[in-house]
């Protein structure tokens, strides 16, 4: 039992102890400092996966002296967090779910601020031959053939909700589609992961245009069905009634719908022509003419 043998692990333990003393308080002030309040935003994955939020976050934080906490989730989950007050503001894209959220008084107002379109994407060869069809007919064809895989988000996100409403519009029951065979694949993942899965499987999937364009270089997928009223995709912001930081939430809403935010959204990803990811639309009817 020598003196030096005592020092080894003992020193390691005290180093860890010291570390925690230094670390925990170092993290705490970021929370407690009143001059940099945090705004918690639950945002749809399709908006996050494009990288748009990184641009918006930097601009907002520069102007508002407010730290944004961006938490990614499908619209369903995001709205649940908003309802329970776990986040201050939600950014989602599912008008029916948002309307229910407002009706339940979890938020006062839904403000649409940008739109793009959903697409049915799939292998370039379009093996199910749905290219010339409407979204509803395309879905019906996929279910009738039941041989070409279709990947569903399967996560109650805005995109998943839209997918189900297209099944309904096609006269099919989404619940029965779920159990109708191995061609229907439920991913339970965000938009980016779902696209990767569809590409790996050589499958069709429903995606928003923004995420698809952001990922298309890495994917063997092509837009197959791009026209139809059912494909309009509007993004909206709602300040939550139970927000812990209502001022910050309102500031973010004002930023997204204001000139600075709208310009950033419109300019995002416009380096190459024809690749506009989002169309800013605060204060307008948000592209309600789906014929383009």
């Amino acid at each position: 039992m020598t003196r030096s043998s005592i020092a080894g692990p003992g020193r390691m333990l005290s180093a860890l102890l010291l570390l925690s003393v230094v670390v925990l308080p170092a993290h705490a002030p970021a929370q407690a400092k009143p001059e940099t309040p945090r705004v918690r935003v639950a945002t749809t994955t399709s908006l996050y996966d494009t990288g748009l939020w990184e641009v918006l976050e930097a601009a907002f934080e520069a102007g508002a002296a407010c730290d944004l906490d961006l938490i990614c989730a499908g619209t369903g989950r995001a709205l649940e967090w908003g309802a329970s007050g776990d986040v201050d503001v939600v950014v989602t894209h599912s008008p029916t779910q948002e309307a229910a959220f407002i009706a339940a008084r979890h938020g006062r107002e839904r403000v649409a601020f940008a739109y793009n379109y959903f697409l049915i994407v799939g292998p370039a060869t379009d093996p199910a031959e749905i290219g010339d069809l409407s979204p509803e007919d395309a879905f019906r064809m996929l279910s009738e053939k039941a041989t070409h895989p279709f990947v569903s988000r399967g996560d109650d996100s805005g995109t998943h909700t839209r997918e189900r409403s297209i099944w309904k519009a096609a006269g099919l029951d989404p619940v029965r589609i779920r159990d109708s065979g191995r061609w229907y694949v439920e991913a339970g993942l965000g938009m980016g992961s779902t696209l990767s899965m569809a590409a790996q499987l050589g499958a069709y999937t429903l995606t928003d245009n923004g995420t698809f364009l952001a990922y298309r270089d890495d994917l063997d997928l092509m837009p197959i069905v791009i026209r139809g009223e059912a494909l309009l995709n509007v993004y909206a912001v709602i300040v939550c009634t139970r927000a812990a930081n209502p001022e910050g939430a309102a500031a973010l809403s004002a930023f997204l719908t204001g000139d600075a935010g709208q310009d950033l959204i419109g300019a995002y990803g416009c380096e190459s022509p024809g690749s506009r990811l989002f169309t800013p639309c605060a204060g307008t009817d948000c592209g309600s003419d789906p014929t383009r």
């Binding site: 080894g8 570390l19 961006l70």
Partner: protein
């Protein structure tokens, strides 16, 4: 595949700020959780070991069974408790680094307690009997036993840290994977795949592997030291 590895190694070599930031945060959070858990549950384990009561064997068995509690279940539990609608919702801790520390500390509590009890048992009763025979109080005798096992403590700490640093369930669910705030190696790797940035995911994966291997290596060294005495 090879380009991916090259790009990942390049980012690590260039000390890519994103990769370094996430790695440092992961180390800080998981070591904080480890220290917190050891401070809370180490003494508790010692108390269990040095006292005798009905059902002691069953309690220790239960603790050791809980080694393998799934991380997502702890994540779910801590999420439900810390959510605004949960019992501790008023603290506003959900989606903060502190929530990750608390959740990981809870996750590794069975490991800390179980290994601590095994360690104390390993010392054998002769040591405390001798101390008591020499006129030590029960507390003093217990401290002698704790001190006898000093090398083994490092193994306990490292094993606990290893479990904390490699888990993804708690960090994702109660941390929310917020960039620059609660993003850890494991949640960032998931996100890296999700966003199609495979190079970053691989770079972070290499960092996680290095951390995990280093922990195991140190635990082995500590184990050899403890057997050496």
């Amino acid at each position: 595949m090879r380009e991916l590895l090259v790009e990942a190694v390049r980012r690590i070599a260039a000390l890519d700020p994103e990769v370094m930031d996430i790695t440092l945060r992961t180390l800080l959070l998981s070591s904080s959780a480890t220290v917190l858990s050891c401070l809370l549950f180490g003494p508790l384990a010692a108390t269990i070991h040095f006292t005798s009561f009905r059902g002691k064997g069953a309690l220790i068995g239960l603790v050791q069974t809980l080694y393998s509690v799934p991380t997502v279940l702890i994540g779910l539990l801590v999420y439900l408790v810390l959510s605004r609608s949960g019992p501790l919702g008023g603290l506003g801790l959900l989606f903060t680094p502190q929530a990750i520390v608390a959740g990981q500390a809870l996750l590794i509590a069975p490991v800390v307690m179980g290994l601590a009890i095994t360690t104390l048992r390993g010392v054998g009763s002769g040591v405390s009997d001798t101390a008591l025979g020499l006129g030590a109080s029960r507390l003093q005798a217990a401290l002698v036993v704790v001190q006898q096992a000093r090398h083994a403590w490092a193994t306990v700490v490292l094993m606990a840290f290893g479990r904390a640093v490699s888990e993804v369930g708690v960090a994702m669910m109660v941390g929310g994977n917020i960039r620059g705030h609660t993003r850890t190696l494991t949640t960032a790797i998931s996100l890296g795949i999700g966003r199609g940035d495979n190079a970053e995911a691989v770079a972070l994966g290499i960092m996680l592997l290095v951390v995990a291997l280093a922990v195991t290596f140190l635990a082995n060294v500590a184990g050899r030291l403890s057997r050496g005495t």
